[in-house]
C-alpha cells in the first residue's frame, strides 16, 4: 500500500465543540495528523449557509486510511462536507 501525503478539506457548522468532535475522531481511531488549519466564518461559493468553518487537514496514509478518515469525519453531524484536495 502506498503511503502518501493527503490534504482533506472539511466544512463545518460553527457550533461549540465541533473541533473537539473532529479531534476526538483523530484520537480514538488512531489517525496521525501532520497539520490542522482552522479558518473561521468563510463564505462557500453560492452557499446560503452562514457561520461555516473550514478545516484543512494534512495527513500521511494509504488511500484506505484517508477514505476511512473522510467517512468518519463526515459522520459528525456538524460536519457539512469533507473533500480531498488535489493540487
Amino acid at each position: 500500500m502506498n503511503t502518501m501525503k493527503h490534504v482533506l478539506v472539511a466544512v463545518l457548522e460553527d457550533k461549540p465543540g465541533v473541533l473537539n468532535r473532529m479531534a476526538s475522531v483523530f484520537r480514538r481511531r488512531g489517525f496521525n495528523i501532520e497539520s490542522v488549519n482552522v479558518i473561521d466564518t468563510i463564505n462557500v461559493d453560492n452557499s446560503e449557509l452562514p457561520n461555516l468553518t473550514r478545516v484543512t487537514i494534512v495527513l500521511s496514509g494509504t488511500k484506505t486510511t484517508v477514505d476511512q478518515l473522510k467517512k468518519q469525519l463526515d459522520k459528525i453531524v456538524d460536519v457539512v462536507k469533507v473533500s480531498e484536495f488535489h493540487a
Binding site: L12, E13, G17, L49, K71, K75, V77, V80, K81
Partner: protein, 571 residues
C-alpha cells in the same frame, strides 16, 4: 404563550410521541420533576440506578423500534448513564438521554454535581447537545429525536442546565429539522445494485450474513424473498438473530466465535458473500485476514463509514436495507444451489451444534431449550453477557422477528434485567424472559424493586454456575486452568427475590425444570427461578481468539450426546 423550559421539554416529548421515561431525579432536575405530573401522557418509571434507566430505554427501543428516553440528574446521575449510552451506541439503538446540568452561570466552575457530560459522551453518542438557551430547547429536542431514529440509529444526549428548565420562552415546535451536515443515504445506488445482482446471479456458493440492520429496517420479508428466490443460505450475527426464521430450511444459524461450526464453514467456503446490515465485528469474523477467503463480498449497510472499515469489500451498497433489498429482488433471477445447500446440510449433520448431552447434572443448555418448549418460542428473550448469552443464542430457536435482545457490541454484563424491564414496558402483551448469569445479575439486581413497583411481569431465569462462567472457560482453555477471580459466591437469590416481593423457586434437577417454567408462566407477576447448573460447563463450538472461523473447538463428549429434535422446516 410563554412556558418554562421544563414545560417546553415535556411538550416536546409529547410531540415526539414519547410515552415512557426511565429516570431518576436529582437537584438539577427538580424543576422538571415538578412539571412532569402535569403531563399524564408521560409515564415516568423510577429506576434504582441510572444505568438501569439507560438499559431500560435501550431495551424498550430495541423491542418497539420507538425512541427510548432516559433521564438523569447532573454529575453522578449523568455518569451513571454512560455505560448504557455506550451500549446503545455500539448496537445502534435509538435512545435520547436527557441529563440535568448545574446552572449555566456555574458551568466550568467545578460546581456541586457538575460534570462535563457532553465531553464524556462525545465518542459514545451519535450526537449530543448542551442547551444554553431556553429558546433553542424545542429545536434541540426535535433534532435529537430525528437523529436518534433516522439513518443508522443511535443515542443522543441532551444536557440541560437548571436555569434553562426555569427560564421562559415561547413554545413553537419546529415542523422539520435543518441539519445541513446530516443527510443519510437511503436509496442504494442503482449501478452498485446492478453489480451486486450480477455477482449473485453468477454465484455458485452464495451466502447471506444478516445482521441487526435487517431488524432495524424491518426488512424481514425482503430478506426472505431474496434468500428463497436465489436459494441462498442465511447465517446471522448474534444481533441478527430474529431477522430470519431459524426453522427455515435456508437458515444455518449464527456465525462467529460461538457460532455453529457449519455456519463458519459456509463462510469459509462461499464464493459470494452478501453481508446485510452488519459490520464485520471481530467476534463474528475471527481472524479477519482469513475470513471468507474465497469470496467476493457485497456489503449492504446504511453507514458509509462501515464500508471497508474492517474488511475489503468488492461491491458496497450504502443505504437502507429494506429499500436496497426491494430493488435487488426485482433483478435477481431464480436459481437453485442444490449441491451447495446439500454440502451445508452435510456439515450440519457432521457438526451438530444444537444437541444437548444427556447427563446427571442440570445443564444450562437444557434449561434454555425447555424455556423454548414451554413458551413454544412465543417469547422475547433478553440476555446477559457471557455463557448465558451464548447458550440463549444457540439453544432457543428464534422464529419470531426481533425476539432476541442482547448486548452485542459493548458486551455489557448487567444489561439483562433493566433491558428486560424496558422490553416488558414496550411490549406488555409479550412474554419476556430475562436470561441472566449469576455474575451479571448482581450488577443491576436493584432493578428488581423497579419491576415490583411498576408491576412488570418479567420472568427471570438465572443460570447459576457459581462462576463468572465465560472467564472460567477462557481460564480453562487458555490460562492453564488457573481460575483467578472467577469463582463467585452469591446470595440466596430466592430469598433476595422474596425480599423484593417476587415469587421465586430454586431448581437443581432436570425433572424440576419444566414444572418450574410452567409455574413461572402461570404466575401473573414477575417470577424468578434460580437454576443451579453444572459449574464446569463450557460453550461450544468455540473459535479461539485470533483463529480462523473454520478452526473451531467442538464439544469433546459427542458420543454420549442426545439427539436434539430437528428443527421443523417451514413451508
Amino acid at each position: 404563550m410563554k412556558m418554562t423550559g421544563a414545560q417546553i421539554l415535556c411538550e416536546s416529548l409529547v410531540k415526539e410521541g414519547v410515552e415512557v421515561i426511565f429516570g431518576y431525579p436529582g437537584g438539577a432536575l427538580l424543576p422538571l420533576y415538578d412539571t412532569l405530573p402535569k403531563y399524564s401522557q408521560l409515564r415516568h418509571i423510577l429506576v434504582r440506578h441510572e444505568q438501569g434507566a439507560a438499559h431500560a430505554a435501550d431495551g424498550y427501543a430495541r423491542a418497539t423500534g420507538k425512541v427510548g428516553v432516559c433521564l438523569a440528574t447532573s454529575g453522578p446521575g449523568a455518569t451513571n448513564l454512560v455505560t448504557g449510552i455506550a451500549n446503545a451506541f455500539l448496537d445502534s439503538s435509538p435512545v435520547v438521554a436527557i441529563t440535568g446540568q448545574v446552572p449555566s452561570s456555574l458551568i466550568g466552575k467545578d460546581a456541586f454535581q457538575e460534570v462535563d457530560i457532553t465531553g464524556i459522551t462525545l465518542p459514545i453518542t451519535k450526537h449530543n447537545y448542551l442547551v444554553l438557551d431556553v429558546d433553542s430547547l424545542a429545536k434541540v429536542v426535535k433534532e435529537s429525536f430525528h437523529l436518534a431514529r433516522t439513518g443508522r440509529p443511535g443515542p443522543i444526549l441532551i444536557d440541560v442546565p437548571r436555569d434553562v428548565l426555569v427560564n421562559e420562552a415561547e413554545f413553537h415546535y419546529p415542523d422539520k429539522v435543518d441539519l445541513p451536515g446530516y443527510k443519510p443515504t437511503l436509496q442504494g445506488h442503482p449501478t452498485q445494485i446492478k453489480k451486486a445482482t450480477k455477482l449473485i446471479n453468477e454465484a455458485r456458493q452464495p451466502l447471506i450474513i444478516a445482521g441487526r440492520g435487517v431488524i432495524i429496517s424491518g426488512a424481514y420479508a425482503e430478506l426472505k424473498q431474496l434468500a428463497e428466490a436465489a436459494q441462498i443460505p442465511v447465517v446471522t450475527t448474534l444481533l441478527g438473530i430474529g431477522c430470519f426464521p431459524e426453522s427455515h430450511a435456508l437458515s444455518f444459524g449464527m456465525l462467529g466465535m460461538h457460532g455453529m461450526a457449519y455456519a463458519n464453514m459456509a463462510v469459509d467456503a462461499t464464493d459470494v458473500l452478501i453481508a446485510i446490515g452488519m459490520r464485520f465485528d471481530d467476534r463474528a469474523t475471527g481472524k479477519i485476514s482469513t475470513f471468507a477467503p474465497h469470496a467476493r463480498i457485497i456489503h449492504i449497510d446504511i453507514d458509509p463509514a462501515e464500508i471497508g472499515k474492517n474488511i475489503r469489500v468488492d461491491v458496497p451498497i450504502v443505504g437502507d436495507v429494506k429499500a436496497i433489498l426491494q430493488e435487488l429482488n426485482k433483478l435477481i433471477t431464480s436459481t437453485e444451489h442444490v449441491t451447495w445447500i446439500q454440502q451445508l446440510e452435510d456439515w450440519r449433520k457432521e457438526h451438530p451444534a444444537t444437541e444437548i448431552r444427556e447427563c446427571e447434572e442440570l445443564l444450562p443448555q437444557f434449561v434454555i431449550r425447555k424455556i423454548h418448549e414451554v413458551t413454544r418460542g412465543e417469547a422475547i428473550i433478553v440476555t446477559g453477557v457471557g455463557q448465558n448469552q451464548m447458550w440463549a443464542a444457540q439453544h432457543f430457536w428464534y422464529d419470531r422477528p426481533n425476539s432476541l435482545i442482547s448486548s452485542g457490541g459493548l458486551g455489557t454484563m448487567g444489561f439483562e434485567l433493566p433491558a428486560a424491564m424496558g422490553v416488558k414496558v414496550g411490549c406488555p402483551d409479550d412474554t419476556v424472559w430475562c436470561i441472566a448469569g449469576d455474575g451479571g445479575f448482581q450488577m443491576t439486581i436493584q432493578e428488581l424493586a423497579t419491576i415490583v413497583q411498576e408491576r412488570l411481569a418479567v420472568k427471570i431465569a438465572i443460570m447459576n454456575n457459581a462462576h463468572l462462567g465465560m472467564i472460567r472457560q477462557w481460564q480453562e482453555f487458555f490460562y492453564g486452568k488457573r481460575y483467578v477471580a472467577s469463582p463467585l459466591a452469591s446470595p440466596d437469590f430466592v430469598k433476595i427475590a422474596e425480599a423484593y416481593g417476587i415469587s421465586a423457586l430454586r431448581v437443581k434437577r432436570s425433572e424440576e425444570v419444566v414444572p418450574a417454567i410452567e409455574q413461572a408462566m402461570q404466575h401473573e407477576g414477575p417470577f424468578l427461578i434460580d437454576f443451579v447448573v453444572e459449574p464446569g460447563e463450557n460453550v461450544y463450538p468455540m473459535v479461539p481468539p485470533g483463529a480462523t472461523v473454520a478452526e473451531c473447538l467442538e464439544e469433546p463428549r459427542k458420543a454420549e450426546s442426545l439427539k436434539a429434535p430437528r428443527k421443523e422446516v417451514a413451508v
